[in-house]
């Protein structure tokens, strides 16, 4: 038995051995709302935005390399797969950015009341939608 497994070992009030629940106790947490789900989403979107830096690096490297390479990257960005990646990237980036500001506010001690936490959580979600739609309107109409 490893140490991780050992922390699950416990006894019921009758003295019978029991496997204690995993902590954090997922069955009693408010999974659908503003604490747990946005927290893990912050990490997931962080990893996705990290992977999307590949697009950023490709764009810069192509620009440095010359017109032919730049045109190929521009062609890819304009393909349906390119659009899909850029759309996913914009949404996850804006979520991570806005929820990151929420985390920075927590780090300096603001917004810990439950009411405030819900308000900031919904603001992050609404802001993500607004910024993503705004960017794509500009991209498709102006660009």
């Amino acid at each position: 038995m490893d140490t991780r497994e050992a922390t699950y070992a416990g006894l019921t009030s009758d003295g019978a051995p029991i496997r204690r629940p995993m902590s954090p106790h997922l069955q009693v947490w408010d999974n659908l709302l503003m604490s747990t789900s946005l927290s893990i989403s912050h990490r997931i979107t962080g990893v996705i935005v990290g992977a999307a830096t590949l697009l950023f690096v490709c764009w810069l490297a192509a620009a440095a390399s010359g017109p032919a390479a730049y045109d190929s990257v521009a062609w890819f960005m304009g393909s349906w797969l390119g659009y899909l990646m850029l759309f996913g990237w914009s949404g996850t980036l804006f979520f991570h950015l806005l929820n990151g500001i929420r985390h920075l506010a927590w780090d300096v001690g603001y917004g810990f009341e439950i009411r405030e936490m819900y308000a900031s959580g919904w603001t992050v979600l609404a802001g993500t939608a607004v910024l993503t739609v705004l960017v794509w309107i500009i991209y498709l109409v102006v660009g």
Binding site: G50, L54, V135, G143
Partner: protein
Amino acid sequence: MSGTNTTHQPALRSALGRVRGLGTAKSGAHHWWVQRMTAAALVPLSLWFIFLGILPLAGEPHAVAVAWIARPFNTVLLLALIIAMFYHLELGLTVVIEDYAHSDGKRLVGFVIMRACVWLLGLTAAFSVLRIAL
């Protein structure tokens, strides 16, 4: 105990932990702090790049993009963006690997591969910007 301000520290930190320089009193706080600093820097930098870089340049030919990157103001901000972005990414992925890789071997391999990828991407980006600008 020697030193003036170590009355309760020995109970909290083992000698081995002190020698390795691990724990929140040393590099732990540094990691936390730099992650927040780079995060704060990335808020204006990424908004600048999206709204004043990507969007105006979308659909423009190579010459226009290169001219934009080569403008000194943009070159400096791009380099700042690249440094903050890849530093922040390295710190974030370090925590992810620490949380999900449960053996020292997996962690070591994970750290090496992750840092190699992050550094090579960051260097490629920075070199591209400098090559265009200089």
